[in-house]
C-alpha cells in the first residue's frame, strides 16, 4: 500500500513521457532558457541536451551569446534566484543531477545543492570575489553553509584547500583580501572555494579568460589534476578551443542557443562535421602553423537571439549553405543527427558532401 502510494506520488507532476530516470550523473534534456524582454523573447538556450558522467569533462564551446554561460547558470539554478520584481527567466526541459530533477525541485532544495553537489568557477575572479571580505572568510562561508562546524574548523579546511591549489603560505594568505592577490592567485582561491565541499559537479565558466597567458596553463593543469583527485564531473565553458583540447573528453559546440555538434574530443577535433566547427578550428591560432598564414575568421556576427534566422541558424554565415539541394537550409531547422559513433551534428549537408569538403577544402588549411 505504502509502496503504491509512493510510486503514485512521485509520478504526479512529472510529464509521463519524461518520467524515465536519468542514466547519467548529469543529464540535461531539451533545456530552454528564455528571457522575456521589451523587444521580444530572447531565446538564449533553445533545446539543449547532453549528459556527463563523473570523472569526465565536457567542454562547451561557442562564441559570445551562444548560450554557454546561460546554460551553466541554468544548471546551477541561478536564473531563478534574486529576480526581484523583474521579468523572470523562463526555463523548461529537465536537468537531472545524480537522479534528482532540478527544474521542478523546490528552490531551497536546489540552493542546498549549490556549492555542495555542484559548484562553479567564474570568469573574472576579481569581480566574482567580494572585495570587502577576506579570502578565508569567503571560503569559510562556502564551507559553513553546508557543514555545521565552528569557524576554526572551517578555517583549517580553507587553509588546507588554499594549500592544495598551490597558494604559498596559505595560513597567512587566508587572511588576505582579494585585491591583495594577483589574478592567477585569485582564480586559485576561487577554485579552492568551489572545491571546499567536494562537489561532484564542477562548472568552470571561462576560468582562464581574465588571466595572463602564462597563468592560463597553470590554472588548466590545476583543474585537470583536481578533477582526477576529486573524481568530479567537470563542465568547462569557453570560446577557446585550445582550452578544450587540453581538458575535455567530450565537446559540445553551441551556436545561437542550440547544439550544432556534439561528440568526443577526438571526433570533434579530427572529424568535425559542422561548418561552424570548421570555422572555429580555422580561426584558432596554432604554434605549429607557419606565421605567414592568416587565420580564417568566421564571417559575419552572431545571430540575434530574438530573431534567430529561419532554417539553420548558421545559414547566413555558412559558406556551404547552398550545398544541400533546394532551399532547405533557409527554411528548415536541422536536427541533431548521429553521424557515427555517437558523434552528432546538426547540418543539412549529406555526410558525403561534408566529408568531401572537410578532407579537400578545410583540413589541408588547418
Amino acid at each position: 500500500m505504502t509502496e503504491l502510494h509512493k510510486t503514485g506520488a512521485s509520478a504526479v507532476g512529472e510529464p509521463v513521457a519524461d518520467a524515465r530516470p536519468a542514466r547519467s550523473f548529469l543529464e540535461v534534456r531539451d533545456l530552454q532558457v528564455h528571457f522575456p524582454t521589451e523587444d521580444g523573447l530572447v531565446k538564449s538556450v533553445d533545446g539543449l541536451s547532453f549528459s556527463l558522467e563523473k570523472g569526465k569533462t565536457l567542454g562547451i564551446v561557442g562564441e559570445s551569446g551562444s548560450g554557454k554561460s546561460v546554460t551553466s547558470l541554468g544548471i546551477m539554478g541561478l536564473h531563478t534566484v534574486g529576480q526581484y520584481g523583474r521579468k523572470k527567466a523562463k526555463l523548461s526541459g529537465e536537468i537531472w543531477l545524480d537522479g534528482q530533477e532540478l527544474l521542478s525541485a523546490e528552490p531551497d532544495a536546489v540552493r542546498k545543492l549549490r556549492g555542495r553537489e555542484m559548484a562553479m568557477i567564474f570568469q573574472d575572479p576579481l569581480s566574482a570575489l567580494h572585495p570587502y571580505f577576506t579570502i578565508g572568510h569567503q571560503i569559510v562561508e562556502a564551507y559553513r553553509v553546508h557543514h555545521d562546524v565552528d569557524k576554526k574548523t572551517a578555517k583549517k579546511r580553507a587553509v588546507e584547500l588554499l594549500d592544495r591549489v598551490g597558494i604559498p603560505q596559505p595560513d597567512q594568505r587566508v587572511n588576505s583580501y582579494p585585491h591583495e592577490f594577483s589574478g592567477g592567485m585569485r582564480q586559485r582561491a576561487m577554485i579552492a572555494m568551489s572545491l571546499v565541499n567536494n562537489p561532484e559537479l564542477l562548472i568552470a565558466d571561462e576560468p582562464t579568460t581574465a588571466l595572463d597567458v602564462t597563468v592560463q596553463a597553470q590554472i588548466l593543469d590545476l583543474i585537470r589534476d583536481l578533477q582526477k583527485e576529486f573524481g568530479s564531473a567537470v563542465i568547462i565553458i569557453t570560446h577557446d578551443l585550445g582550452v578544450v583540447a587540453e581538458l575535455a573528453d567530450d565537446i559540445l559546440v553551441m551556436y545561437g542557443g542550440r547544439c550544432v555538434e556534439y561528440g568526443t574530443a577526438e571526433q570533434v577535433f579530427y572529424e568535425p562535421q559542422h561548418p561552424y566547427t570548421w570555422g572555429l578550428l580555422g580561426s584558432m591560432p596554432r604554434v605549429d602553423r607557419a606565421q605567414t598564414e592568416r587565420l580564417i575568421p568566421v564571417k559575419g556576427s552572431p545571430p540575434s537571439l530574438i530573431n534567430i534566422p529561419q532554417g539553420c541558424a548558421f545559414n547566413p554565415r555558412c559558406p556551404y549553405a547552398d550545398v544541400p539541394k533546394g532551399n532547405v537550409t533557409r527554411t528548415e531547422r536541422p536536427e541533431l543527427r548521429d553521424v557515427g559513433g555517437g558523434h552528432q551534428s546538426a547540418c543539412h549537408m549529406d555526410q558525403a558532401d561534408r566529408e568531401r569538403i572537410w578532407t579537400e577544402e578545410i583540413a589541408p588549411k588547418l
Partner: protein
C-alpha cells in the same frame, strides 16, 4: 587639511569687513559714537593691527583666551574666546555653547530616523523593483525631496500639534524635562527626516540595484548562501559605502544649523542664531557659527574616512 580649511574661513571673515565697508568698530559702538570712542574700540579689538597679528590673536583667544585692553580698561575673555557680539555685546562662545546642543540633538535624532526609513525603503524598493510598493515608495520619496521644510513642517505642526494636540510645539531643553524635549523634537525630526530619508531611499535603491547585479552576489548565491543572507551581508555591506559618504557631508552641514527647520519650529539652535546674525551683520557671531560648521564638516569627513577603512579593506593602505 583641518588647518587649511580653518585658515580659509578666517581669511574670508577678516577680508569681508574690508570689502563690504562694514566697519566693525562702528558696528560695535553704534552709529552715534564720536571719533574718540571709535578709536578706543579699534584699539581694544586690535583692528588696526596687521592682519596676521589679528589672526594670531583670534587663534590665541580660542585656545588660551585673550584680554581686550584699551586706556587702562581690560576685559578678559576666557578660552575658548570667539570675541563679542556686535549687537548684544555678549561673548560669542556661551551663545554657541547654548545653541549647539539644540542643533546637535536635531541633526542626530533626525539622522537616526532618516537612516532607518531611507535604508529600509531603499532596500525593499530595490528588491521589489517595478512593484506597487516600489512605485509608491519612490513617489513618496520624490515628494519628500521636492517639498520644502517650511511646507511639510508647518503642515505637520498644524495637524499634529495645533490640530490633534499630540505633541508640543515648543522647545524644552532636555535637562529640564526629557518627555517635553522629546515631544517638542519629534516633529522637527520627522520633517527633517522626511526630506533626507527621501534622498537616502533613492540613493540606497539605486546603489542596491547596482550591487545586486555584481558578480560577487552571484558567487555568494552559487555557494548556496541563503538569499536573505546574500542581501543582508553581501549586498548591504557594499550599499553602505555611498550612504556613509553622504551621511558625513549631511551631518556636518546640518551642524551649521538647519536654518529652515529651526525657524519653522522655533528651535533656539545655531541656525536661528546665524539667521539673526546675518540680518544684523553681527560678524563675530557669523564667524563663530561658521567655524563650528567647518569643524563639524571636517570632523564628520574624518569619521567617514575612518569608517571607509572599516568597511572597505581596499582603502586601508591609502
Amino acid at each position: 587639511m583641518l588647518i587649511v580649511v580653518m585658515l580659509a574661513v578666517f581669511g574670508i571673515f577678516f577680508l569681508i569687513p574690508e570689502w563690504t565697508g562694514v566697519d566693525p568698530a562702528t558696528m560695535f559702538a553704534g552709529k552715534q559714537s564720536d571719533a574718540a570712542a571709535l578709536d578706543g574700540i579699534r584699539q581694544k579689538l586690535g583692528l588696526d593691527d596687521p592682519i596676521l597679528v589679528q589672526l594670531f590673536d583670534f587663534f590665541k583667544g580660542i585656545l588660551a583666551g585673550r584680554d581686550y585692553v584699551s586706556a587702562g580698561d581690560t576685559i578678559h575673555c576666557s578660552a575658548p574666546c570667539f570675541g563679542y557680539s556686535f549687537k548684544t555685546e555678549q561673548a560669542i562662545w556661551p551663545i554657541l555653547a547654548d545653541r549647539l546642543p539644540v542643533t546637535l540633538g536635531l541633526a542626530v535624532g533626525a539622522a537616526v530616523i532618516w537612516l532607518v526609513i531611507g535604508l529600509t525603503a531603499g532596500v525593499v524598493s530595490a528588491l521589489r523593483r517595478g512593484t506597487v510598493w516600489d512605485r509608491v515608495t519612490m513617489g513618496l520619496a520624490l515628494s519628500g525631496v521636492s517639498l520644502p521644510i517650511y511646507f511639510t513642517g508647518l503642515l505637520s505642526l498644524a495637524i499634529f500639534s495645533y490640530g490633534l494636540g499630540l505633541v508640543s510645539n515648543e522647545y524644552t531643553p532636555v535637562e529640564e524635562s526629557f518627555p517635553a524635549w522629546f515631544s517638542g523634537m519629534i516633529l522637527p525630526w520627522l520633517t527633517l527626516a522626511f526630506l533626507f530619508g527621501a534622498m537616502y531611499a533613492r540613493l540606497t535603491r539605486a546603489t542596491m540595484l547596482e550591487v545586486m547585479g555584481e558578480d560577487y552576489i552571484r558567487t555568494a548565491r552559487a555557494k548556496g548562501v541563503r538569499e536573505s543572507v546574500v542581501i543582508r551581508k553581501h549586498a548591504m555591506r557594499s550599499t553602505m559605502t555611498p550612504v556613509i559618504t553622504l551621511l558625513g557631508v549631511d551631518l556636518g552641514a546640518l551642524m551649521g544649523g538647519a536654518i529652515l527647520t529651526e525657524t519653522t519650529f522655533s528651535l533656539p539652535g545655531l541656525g536661528q542664531a546665524v539667521l539673526k546674525a546675518i540680518s544684523e551683520k553681527d560678524l563675530p557671531l557669523i564667524l563663530g557659527v561658521t567655524l563650528i560648521t567647518a569643524s563639524a564638516v571636517v570632523v564628520a569627513n574624518l569619521v567617514v574616512d575612518l569608517l571607509y577603512g572599516v568597511i572597505d579593506p581596499r582603502v586601508r593602505l591609502a
